[in-house]
Subunit: 351 residues, 2 copies
């Protein structure tokens, strides 16, 4: 059975070229994929024409507007009615596609997805998930920046959605979960995170809950899912990116300082290639908006065709494994596992 994905052909720094390249790669890898593609006809048609097998599975819709990277979410909601991004999301609501992928403006993408698709029943706030490189392979983290302020219940929802996503992309049956904090002792942290910790510990709803973890534990990969509010999660993600670049910079500076080092690095090229591959952001591309009524995946704006292919494959996995059915089911189970009294108590304690 074929799966239809809606693609925003105009989002990202190197669109539409890298988008078409990624789609062409996807057709080779996933023969059952079909596309609804939205974008500027003049720019996309010549590119599309180069890939016969892609043309065969793509339904192209010309659009007249593009949401720029500096557009505010509110502006994206009010205007840009014929933008490639909005039209792509709409096609999911209309049932023409099972999911959408865009490398465009994150804020606008999230705002439009919430507005057009709506959230899943029982979900208060959708979150942005993502994969991080660790000692033990890629691991899931959320929220990457959608929610700067959260309640304890939001964090619990994130944990449930993170577990569902880890099952889909990592293939782990019973993913372990940690709450990001500034210490592992129960007395550490702010009231919200302490409350979420207590609820997750007492409910045993997430059987593999590991309690608090610290910032350096993420890269150690001691849990499959790291849960944080969007403020800490985003800072964590970007700090890791920045530190990676800094180390590369120091190493290049060091190499420049001696001829022997330059020669050595040539010989050790396989080792550096190995490192580069292990932290290659393209392998970790494809951040899902979790908690929506539909599958929406955000690609990094600066990626290439290979990276966009990865984002497509994340969306495909989420659709094939029916991630939203799992999330709905577990959110329902969570709600009913706590009596109204208990839930009220939790809410009361949070005040």
């Amino acid at each position: 059975m074929s799966i239809v994905l809606a693609i925003d052909g105009m989002g990202g720094d190197h669109a539409p070229e890298m988008i078409i390249e990624g789609m062409a790669k996807a057709v080779m890898r996933f023969p059952h994929i079909r596309f609804e593609l939205f974008g500027d006809e003049e720019r996309i048609s010549p590119l599309l024409g180069k890939h016969e097998s892609l043309v065969a599975v793509t339904h192209f819709h010309p659009t007249t507007e593009v949401i720029t990277s500096d557009a505010k979410p509110t502006a994206a909601i009010r205007g840009f009615k014929d933008s490639s991004l909005r039209r792509a999301i709409l096609s999911v609501r209309e049932g023409c596609a099972s999911g959408v992928v865009s490398a465009g403006n994150t804020g606008a993408y999230m705002a439009l997805s919430r507005l057009v698709l709506g959230t899943l029943p029982g979900i208060d706030r959708p979150a942005i998930g993502g994969l991080m490189p660790t000692f033990n392979g890629p691991k899931v983290m959320l929220d990457m920046g959608a929610n700067v302020e959260v309640s304890a219940e939001n964090l619990i929802e994130f944990a449930i959605m993170g577990v569902a996503f880890a099952r889909v992309v990592l293939g782990i049956q019973d993913p372990s979960v940690g709450l990001l904090n500034i210490g592992t002792e129960e007395l550490k942290g702010n009231p919200t995170i302490k409350l979420a910790h207590q609820a997750l510990k007492e409910s045993a709803f997430i059987p593999n809950f590991k309690g608090f973890i610290e910032g350096d534990s993420i890269s150690q990969g001691i849990v499959d899912v790291t849960v944080a509010d969007g403020f800490a999660g985003n800072i964590c993600l970007k700090t890791a990116e920045g530190t990676g670049k800094l180390m590369g910079h120091f190493l290049r500076e060091g190499i420049k300082r001696s001829l022997l080092s330059k020669l050595g690095v040539l010989l050790a090229k396989p080792a550096f290639d190995y490192l580069r591959d292990k932290i290659d952001p393209r392998h970790y591309n494809g951040a899902p908006f979790l908690g929506l009524q539909g599958v929406a995946v955000k690609s990094h704006g600066g990626t290439d065709g290979e990276g966009f292919l990865q984002a497509i494959s994340v969306a495909l996995h989420m659709i094939e494994k029916n991630i939203n059915a799992s999330i709905s089911q577990e959110i329902l189970a969570f709600s009913s596992s706590n009596s109204t009294e208990e839930r009220t108590k939790v809410k009361f304690c949070a005040l």
Copy 2:
């Protein structure tokens, strides 16, 4: 004129050995230094005896208790009356020393310092400062974890203290300041950080205020002082540590995979040594507790004599440049630069 430092001889993983080693190095580098040393006589005396020049400038005080690394701050305050840490801090209050250095339990150290020394007038919350490696050399960041929840006024105080610390340790006359956020646009972030941003921008009190910066900008070194609440700051610091270790791990794994790589790495040793030196945590050791009536510096618990020397030298710089006089003066200037009406307005907006 000599400067007297109080030293907790028992704090840290490798105490008292690394403490005495660091002190001995300090005597060589800073001939005007004197020590009040606190700790277990049986363990410290034999070590001290090996360094004649150190013995000559050290006043040793035997103590009977040690605050362990897992002791809670409340327990440290109530008990441990004859601990090396408490006695060292007390000696500052009594005027026997101008500052204190310890590699012990951070929470206990901060709690005891606040209790024994008190905060500077006008300072609501002391913060933990620190140095981070960047493309442009070491830069200042605070708070590293003392305050998980802050007000906008706290963040402004942190900015003022960070500027004073950057002047002392980086020797920059007019340090630039950035507020850590999940985007650089003014609409991003939580209400607290937006309010602090607005106040710093409008007051022009910190002339070199650069607005919001993101997690990856810290390692780029685009500002001299990064201001964050203790939750984000601590997660940022530990994520950077973890990412550094992860990259080293991947590189070592890559090297193991081929003989040629091993040979190459031998040739490129100077380049790796350069990298290692650039990110050597010992160079960044010595986290000041800013905002106290007295100088208190925290050394990393796992450091060695070289790292402890660095922490001593941070304390020495803070004393010599009279950092607390600068902080008091600027906090006073800040308070009077805003009329009561304006300050009330700021407070009101924060609600």
